[in-house]
């Protein structure tokens, strides 16, 4: 009886899910802000105006591809080359989206479509580690709020970088290049602590990615290959509860 009473005080309503999504998105926001500001600074230095560089963050929302595009614009590379490079680099989101959508079976297509547009390396991995929300009421609100938190910090950070120019001490902004890697580590380590076998999947992916790049494979395709083969090793290595619980 008492348990039921406590549950009633904490209803799983929309606002509650939105708040939880924001909390889950907070580390991404922290990782994105300095990197988005750096992007804004570099983009304005490469000759893009404030509207263009902010618009690129709003419409593309993919950090690595935007940095690549900025350096290619600075080197006056042609538009077609930039667009092809973006496609190759971002194709990994196709694999991530397959995995993401597969877990959202209870969520309606009209909610899934905009959610997939918010997928980045970071929003994908964070939302993948919050699995049970997909089955809860208003689960779509949780993921939407997580993604909007990340998206808005990316767009606002780019804009700030564009207007402020080189405000941040260079040594500090360079130190922040580690932020997103640290976040990935911070997400992976607790999963491995819970189920050691997960480390085999992650290490396989690392090695395939590394070897692929040594052989001259482009970074985007090497990550795709590492993700696919690393994930495939999970079919044999992970037990069902390891996939479901973490």
């Amino acid at each position: 009886m008492r348990v039921q009473a406590v549950r009633k005080l904490e209803p799983s309503n929309r606002l509650h899910m939105v708040r939880r999504g924001m909390m889950a998105g907070l580390p991404i926001m922290l990782g994105y802000l300095p990197i988005a500001i750096t992007y804004g600074v570099l983009a304005s230095q490469s000759g893009m105006n404030l509207l263009e560089l902010t618009l690129m963050s709003m419409l593309v929302f993919a950090g690595a591809a935007q940095f690549l595009a900025v350096s290619m614009v600075a080197a006056s590379t042609g538009a077609v080359e930039i667009i092809i490079a973006t496609f190759v680099l971002n194709f990994r989101h196709f694999v991530m989206s397959l995995s993401f959508v597969n877990r959202l079976k209870q969520i309606a297509l009209k909610a899934k479509l905009p959610l997939t547009l918010g997928l980045t390396d970071e929003t994908f991995t964070v939302s993948s580690l919050y699995r049970k929300e997909a089955k809860e009421d208003y689960g779509a609100w949780f993921y939407a709020s997580l993604m909007i938190t990340a998206y808005s910090s990316w767009v606002v950070g780019s804009f700030l970088g564009g207007i402020l120019g080189d405000v941040m001490p260079q040594r500090l902004s360079e130190s922040m290049g580690i932020a997103l890697y640290a976040m990935f580590i911070g997400l992976l380590v607790p999963a491995i602590k819970k189920h050691y076998r997960i480390s085999f999947v992650a290490i396989t992916a690392m090695l395939v990615n590394f070897i692929g790049q040594q052989w001259g494979l482009n970074q985007g395709w090497a990550i795709v290959l590492g993700t696919l083969i690393g994930g495939l090793s999970g079919v044999f290595i992970l037990k069902d509860e390891e996939e479901e619980e973490v």
Partner: protein, 97 residues
Amino acid sequence: MIIWIIIGMAVVTAVPRILPAFIMNQLKFPKWIDRWLNAIPYAALGALIFPGIMSAKPDAPQIGIIAGLAAVLLAWVNVNIIVVVLGAISAVFLMTL
């Protein structure tokens, strides 16, 4: 000119992201593909961390590695992920003083 680059980039980024929502709506996968897709997040994390972390400071790959080990240590003792991120940033900052 740049606006066309942006629109082109937006299209080639959006299509691979959105396509699975349509594909998966039609298909029912066998169990092993389900398991494969469930393992993808851990594989993606691995591939995103290494070897990319060595280029966090492009001129000094060992700094990325050491900061990464600091992050592993912090994450291992169950501190909040924000502390893991700030710890790694401080580690790089200190090593480049």
